[in-house]
């Protein structure tokens, strides 16, 4: 684990970078002058006396990314991640904002925990928006004090990693949430159907001797949630969908005008169940890695905007928890630091998705769902941006992370795209 050393960004002239911002249809080589945390001027051959100059020749400049599904583990499991280290990992991955999931200890189901998270986040370079629990202790029995949580700063509600098993409570939560029109985020897995499953149910689970989690465990919940969103009129966001059928169900629902959104993780777009052949526990994730056909369906879903956002599902776990036999290892992989390089290497460079599409799903997609302001590379906007050398390659080693954990699904894989600088909240970080 490394320390993230950021400093105040005074006046800074970024020279010769290629600015790419899908929200303003910008893609050109142009200079930016940043003063007092704001983009003062964008133009060719800018000059400013006595100004620090950052030579961005050969780099691209994007608005900062936003991860709407990160587990920062604090309060409760600070050995795995803290708000500080999780935000450091986010910045190192080009994410200037993130939403924290409520599966903390204690659960993010009271005003004091929400305020604690926001207070800690204030010391970091990232914008942090807490997601609070739908039910007390995420037990799925009684609603949490959603009005107070919303007032304290919660931007959405979710029982994180537990789909609400009691469908009547879910219906009540959706009705209740109509008061503030924020989405309920559901992780789509029927616990009984998933059973003791460790990976996708299919050819590989049969071969490797592991219990499977069938597609249908996800599909029935997606279908149920769509019906409820339609019935109650409250927006529902489906977190990290992974199956062909889920994409199709959401596509149909959107056509009918149902207030439904969804996201997908980089690993579900890139990796498959075949990657479990060495029983590497970093590949044990939820939902499980599916098949190439599912990857293709998810990519198609991004192309036609059925899928609104890409989230990392950053899930840090201590080595003593994760470096064990696959039967007992917890589900999840870290993702903030590797997300963009993985997407760029496996999807953009291979011409499966355009850079512009990926950027939309990392910048505006998640912020729109959570009603957060979308940064833009425009004069007068806050300087919220990241810079990358897309030609450079790097291999993430266990020691190279800013996260406190190293259970990265893209560990030891060579990826293109190296972050060069990130600006946010009037601060700058350079590796």
């Amino acid at each position: 684990m490394k320390e993230l050393n950021f400093k105040p960004a005074k006046t800074l002239l970024i020279k010769n970078g290629r600015l790419v911002d899908p929200s303003t249809n910008l893609d050109q080589k142009v200079d930016i002058l940043v003063r007092s945390g704001k983009i003062e001027k964008i133009g060719n051959d800018l000059n400013a006396d006595k100004t620090e100059v950052l030579d961005a020749t050969g780099w691209v400049v994007f608005p900062g990314f936003f991860d709407m599904h990160a587990h920062l583990r604090e309060p409760g499991q600070e050995d795995q991640e803290t708000i500080e280290s999780g935000c450091a990992a986010a910045i190192a991955g080009g994410f200037t904002g993130l939403a924290t999931m409520p599966d903390t200890h204690p659960t993010t189901d009271t005003r004091s925990v929400v305020e604690f998270i926001l207070r800690e986040a204030g010391k970091t370079m990232a914008d942090v928006t807490p997601v609070a629990a739908i039910t007390k202790n995420r037990r799925g029995e009684e609603l949490a004090e959603m009005v107070e949580l919303f007032a304290a700063g919660a931007v959405a509600f979710s029982d994180a990693e537990r789909s609400l098993g009691n469908i009547r409570i879910l219906r009540h939560a959706l009705d209740y949430a109509r008061m503030f029109a924020v989405p309920l985020i559901d992780v789509c897995e029927d616990a009984a159907l998933a059973g003791e499953g460790l990976m996708n149910e299919g050819v590989m689970s049969t071969r490797l001797g592991m219990h499977g989690i069938p597609n249908v465990a996800e599909d029935v919940v997606v279908s149920r949630d769509i019906h409820l969103a339609e019935y109650t009129g409250t927006p529902v966001h489906l977190a990290k969908i992974s199956t062909t059928r889920a994409v199709a169900l959401v596509r149909d629902a959107k056509k009918r005008g149902v207030k439904i959104t969804c996201d997908v993780t980089p690993h579900h777009l890139i990796l498959t169940e075949n990657d479990l052949v060495t029983y590497n526990t970093n590949f044990k994730v939820k939902p499980p890695l599916r098949t190439q056909a599912d990857c293709n369906a998810l990519i198609a879903g991004l192309k036609d905007d059925t899928i609104d956002a890409i989230s990392t599902d950053h899930s840090p776990h201590a080595p003593e928890e994760k470096e064990v036999e696959i039967l007992v290892a917890p589900f999840g992989s870290t993702g903030l630091e590797t997300a963009f390089p993985a997407l760029y290497s496996h999807l953009v460079k291979t011409n499966r998705l355009s850079l512009e599409r990926i950027l939309k799903k990392l910048i505006s997609g998640p912020r729109n769902i959570l009603k957060q302001p979308v940064p833009a590379l425009r004069e007068g906007e806050a300087a919220n941006l990241s810079m990358w050398d897309l030609e450079a390659k790097r291999t993430f080693s266990a020691e190279s992370f800013y996260s406190r954990s190293r259970n990265a699904i893209f560990l030891e894989k060579e990826l293109s795209g190296v972050v060069k600088a990130v600006l946010n909240k009037g601060k700058i970080w350079q590796p």
């Binding site: 050819v203 049969t206 490797l208 001797g209 592991m210 069938p214 060495t278 064990v324 696959i326 039967l327």
Partner: protein, 304 residues
């Protein structure tokens, strides 16, 4: 390069044939007045059993003793694993005591592979979860070779709980590599998804399986499966899938019966069939020791 036995899926036909041939040589050794050879003198083998299995452990232990290896038994109940020590720490500790081979049984699939990543010793899989039990697969094939000369084109039906069976998986891989034909028979809830991708026939009617097969390899039904809703009752299972004389009488042929043990008599196998003229169940047990000697000998690093 250390040589391991992780599963028959990863073995070539030649490798399987070599182990089987060596197994028959060791069977001769076991018939001598002193059924013991000094081959692995000075080699240390640890039997690392995280799951109880008296039979497999005794078979391995006997094989080790007959090869003059020094053996240590480590079982989860008597160890620090119960106290929360990680598998990696356990194996590192044992390795620090200078060992040459580890025979491992664990309820998590992939543990033998995991161990190859954290120790230099040769790893022999004695059963990993639902994945593989390669020495059982090999000794089953050895028993069939002994009886039929070759398993090529032999029709073997595996009956019972295929879903939870590592024995079935190792048998399927091994038998198919040697040219046998394999069928699976059991209630659909106990047949894994995509089983047909193994190139096996699937029967839900045991009478069809019996009519098709030369050999029935009858698996043990774990009684706790009934509680998880996979089949309604012992009674219905025994009636529909139990191997009985009556079902065998419907076909006019000799059929060979195998069982990896321990047997639930009266459930998957009618009481006296296990001891009857068709049964090679005790041959399996005898061959188990010889076959495991062959595996230990070939993988012991007598090479390095």
């Amino acid at each position: 390069m250390k040589d391991h036995l992780l599963g028959l899926e990863y073995c070539s036909k030649q490798e399987i044939e070599k182990i089987l041939k060596t197994g028959f040589s060791f069977k001769e050794v076991l018939s001598r007045p002193i059924p013991k050879v000094p081959t692995l003198r000075g080699k240390t083998v640890v039997n690392l059993f995280f799951e109880n299995s008296t039979r497999t452990r005794i078979s391995f232990e006997l094989a080790q003793k007959r090869l003059s290896a020094d053996t240590v038994n480590f079982s989860a109940s008597s160890s620090s694993v119960a106290k929360g020590e990680s598998l990696r720490d356990t194996i590192r500790n044992i390795e620090a005591m200078k060992i040459d081979m580890v025979v491992v049984r664990h309820k998590s699939p992939g543990v033998p592979y995991f161990l190859t990543q954290c120790t230099d010793a040769s790893i022999i899989n004695a059963g990993d979860g639902l994945h593989e039990h390669p020495t059982q697969g090999l000794l089953d094939i050895m028993t069939l070779q002994e009886k039929f000369g070759t398993v090529e084109n032999l029709k073997v039906a595996i009956i019972g709980d295929i879903l939870h069976s590592r024995v079935a998986r190792s048998n399927i891989y091994g038998l198919q590599k040697l040219g046998a034909k394999v069928a699976l028979c059991g209630p659909p809830t106990l047949i894994p998804v995509h089983a047909e991708d193994w190139g096996v026939e699937v029967f839900y009617d045991i009478n069809e399986a019996v009519a098709w097969a030369d050999v029935l390899n009858v698996l043990r039904i774990q009684l706790e499966r009934q509680g998880s809703g996979l089949f309604p009752s012992r009674r219905e299972y025994a009636q529909r899938f139990g191997v009985t004389r009556e079902k065998l009488r419907k076909v006019d042929k000799d059929i060979t019966i195998m069982h990896p043990g321990p047997i639930n008599r009266g459930l998957e196998l009618e009481h006296d069939l296990a001891d009857g003229e068709f049964s090679v169940i005790l041959n399996q047990v005898t061959n188990g020791v010889a076959l495991r000697m062959a595996v230990l000998y070939l993988k012991s690093g007598v090479g390095s």
